[in-house]
């Protein structure tokens, strides 16, 4: 019959062995396959194809893109003092709307006019990882602009 202290000793030894193994495995993997993109988003890796619920607004992290090429032309203030409700674009919530306003973007037609470079620039600036394309902001903005005009 194995005594209780003996069992505890074995269990402790196995636990220590397991923990040592964990450290070895983790270190080994980091050594063999160094993590990619450590400077950005390594704490919260998100697949580019990750599905984000339409109504859920993720917190955007503002990073400085390498150049201003593609930066959307800002407006100093909304035209006629009235800005569009950018929240009508699915994927844009109050927080992102505020950020866009701070960038001088107040109207649907401004977003509708974004070209590839601008989309990429904003995507990088707000760390959206392709969300503008996935949620089709530009197409939505075009529809909303047409609806507003018509």
């Amino acid at each position: 019959m194995i005594s209780l202290p003996h069992i505890i000793e074995i269990a402790l030894l196995l636990l220590v062995a397991f923990l040592i193994g964990c450290v070895i495995g983790f270190t080994l993997r980091n050594y063999i396959f160094p993590p990619k993109g450590e400077n950005r988003d390594s704490a919260h890796p998100v697949s580019p194809d990750a599905v984000i619920p339409e109504d859920q607004e993720t917190s955007e992290v503002i990073v400085s893109p390498k150049s201003d090429e593609g930066r959307p032309t800002p407006l100093g203030a909304p035209r006629e003092g009235r800005k569009d409700n950018l929240k009508l674009i699915k994927g844009i919530g109050p927080k992102i709307e505020n950020t866009l306003n701070e960038m001088g973007i107040y109207h649907f037609d401004q977003i509708a006019a974004w070209d590839r470079k601008t989309i990429d620039w904003v995507d990088e600036y707000l760390s959206f990882k392709g969300r503008i394309d996935r949620e089709e902001w530009v197409q939505q903005a075009k529809h909303l602009t047409a609806g507003k005009d018509g």
């Binding site: 074995i10 193994g21 964990c22 070895i24 495995g25 080994l28 890796p45």
Partner: protein, 36 residues
């Protein structure tokens, strides 16, 4: 737990200890989310 009992445990249960280390290595290896 003195040294003799430690040696005794290692001698008698080295298979389980090795298994625990290997399971630990696998756990540690997959603890980091994949980049792919």
């Amino acid at each position: 737990m003195n040294f003799d009992s430690f040696v005794y445990l290692v001698e008698n249960y080295w298979v389980f200890l090795t298994a625990a280390v290997l399971i630990g290595v696998a756990t540690g290896w997959y603890a980091r989310p994949s980049n792919h």
